[in-house]
Symmetry: C2
Subunit: 371 residues, 2 copies
């Protein structure tokens, strides 16, 4: 550490900053906080971080509020249907940040860490110099206050999600799956689930996502699964969305009116397309879009509804990308096994090979001049 | 920046680290990300950050799971009742981190930022070198998956909370209140609220908090409002809780059996004490405890149930601290106006003077050798 000491002694730089540097260097060779998983690399230097709500509505009950009877709802308001955002900007941030939207049954926890405690896309892309915005969508997680009541059901369904998210067919893991096999990782994975506190509403979520871009300006939207649908609608709503990375989007592909394909039959039921006016659809042709799907998706109809659902979605995604490109757009579908990247579940960004997935996505951002 | 350049050129330190330093210095004089509030100081250097779930239970439905019928709950499990934790450790972290537990109707958003977008206690204590752990308690926020169903009600009650949290008597702000008067700050404040997704259970929350300490080791617990009750129980459960800072704890003060005071009458109804076995209570005498209350708490009974509720709670807190100290403990109640710190609401840590509150708390941590 001699060189650090000589730095600390010299040339008018503040000792406070010097100490930060010295510690930065010292920590290169030390484990992180005792009891926590070690970080993949050295410290993160964060220029700013914080939290805010975006979008949402206000409802007012009829009547007049009486402060002496404060539990009477008359005349009171309810602020709900916003999204909740935590954000971090690294030093020397790239021009456009990444805005992350989770999928069904999930929260921003999706991106924060992996089931086995490694770094999630939050950290991996901070390290690459991107600002990160992590959303809880309206009526989910820390954005739980909605304007429509709903019951969180406390249903036993872990084994359904294990299958639906293509970890395996309970109790068996898929051979070669990029998912840790220890009990604690599975425990953490199941506990990522968190319920709706109001009905899922793709347009409402899209409005909240759009409000985030109103606040932060140009950025790139990264969606997962059910978040894909609100993502397409957010592009239509807001030209500040300059690109989309969609991981395994589900059932909300929007085609131009009159161009929707027939429903795709599968053992999970038919998968239908949605439509929007052509002018709206054309907005989706003005930004680069990449769509990723992982492994264990059957090529032909399977009796397993949980894997067959992804066969129909992958097929619909391909039809959708063709429609975007036919209208002059730039949409690509990457089925990871076709590129030699095998074993991915429905959560490629937190699978064991998430570094490889991040590198693929980063290369695409670079190719499209979004970095 | 000449000194930085000479540093970059010298003595075998990595250019990567040198660049981080150069940017650190450059950002000292620059605003943060465009559109976001400026940070109070320079960058945060984070040694590690991540997320995990702690505690919780597993329930299993009777029957046998059939992968061909995956939506049938029979034989499936539900992992619920955990807390969700995001954590950050700064470089050169102090030996013990701070573990933050929110209050009723809130999430960890309580600590992340202020209604007017300034830095919350998360950032302020990171800057002072503390590791920070921010919890969503069981059945709340990103820890929404519980084992008991509950309906999120979508009730109009903003004006109730405006009064209950002592911002004012709607639509008037208290004179001198340390709360911003602009519409957007109030909008953000109301949107911090998020509902229960299962019944509040102080013992369940305490078990989840205790599980956090099992994982991270020794630390200091910081609670708000309803979180105070689970906080006392967590001290009883886990000797790794080495000190407690409680902001405006509510109705869950635990006295030794046979020593509970009579309920305290108020216009919000009587406030009763709880009891625990003496051996449990004595664990609360083994760690330093400080309890803060803000301003606008009437000295004598008021007809306003929302302020009078805090008169009874402050009185109960004083009786409780006397009981702790009578048994050899170290508990202090700080009524901030008595120390000349005026205008605080129920959220001193995010009020306009939250720096002053943080400094007071930091001085206490130092005095008690918890830093």
């Amino acid at each position: 550490m001699n060189s650090t000491h000589s730095f600390l002694s010299g040339r008018g730089l503040s000792v406070r900053i010097g100490l930060a540097l010295a510690l930065t260097l010292a920590l290169q060779a030390q484990p992180a906080f005792a009891g926590e998983p070690r970080m993949d690399e050295g410290p993160l230097v964060i220029a700013a971080q914080g939290a805010f709500s975006a979008g949402g509505t206000v409802v007012t009950a009829p009547g007049t509020f009486n402060p002496a009877d404060p539990l009477n709802p008359a005349g009171q308001t309810l602020h709900g249907d916003h999204c909740d955002v935590i954000w971090q900007t690294p030093v020397n941030a790239r021009p456009m940040p990444l805005v992350f939207l989770h999928g069904a049954g999930q929260s921003r926890r999706t991106w924060e860490s992996t089931p086995d405690g490694r770094e999630g896309f939050q950290n991996l892309f901070l390290r690459m110099g991107y600002g990160v915005y992590l959303l809880d969508q309206p009526r989910r997680g820390d954005a739980g206050r909605g304007t429509v009541a709903q019951t969180a059901p406390a249903a036993t369904d872990d084994q359904f999600w294990f299958g639906r998210f293509r970890v395996g067919v309970w109790p068996d893991y898929f051979e070669g799956v990029q998912f840790p096999r220890d009990a604690e990782s599975l425990n953490q994975y199941f506990r990522q689930m968190t319920p709706n506190t109001g009905p899922f509403d793709a347009d409402l979520s899209a409005s909240a996502v759009s409000a985030v871009f109103d606040r932060i300006g140009a950025g790139i939207l990264v969606t997962h699964s059910q978040g894909g649908g609100p993502g397409w609608l957010a592009v239509i709503k807001n030209p500040q969305v300059k690109g989309v990375v969609a991981f395994e989007p589900g059932s909300n592909f929007v085609f131009p009116e009159g161009e929707a394909p027939a429903p795709i039959e599968g053992s999970d039921g038919p998968l239908a397309a949605s439509t929007v006016p052509l002018d709206d659809f054309l907005r989706l042709t003005r930004v680069p879009i990449i769509i990723y799907y992982g492994d264990f998706i059957p090529e032909t109809r399977s009796d397993n509804p949980n894997t067959d659902a992804w066969r129909t979605r992958l097929a619909m995604a391909r039809l959708w990308a063709e429609a975007v490109n036919r209208h002059g757009g730039d949409a690509a579908v990457v089925h990871l096994p076709e590129q030699g990247i095998r074993g991915n579940t429905h959560f490629p960004f937190s699978d064991l090979n998430n570094h490889e997935i991040a590198a693929h996505m980063a290369a695409w951002l670079h190719e499209k001049k979004l970095d």
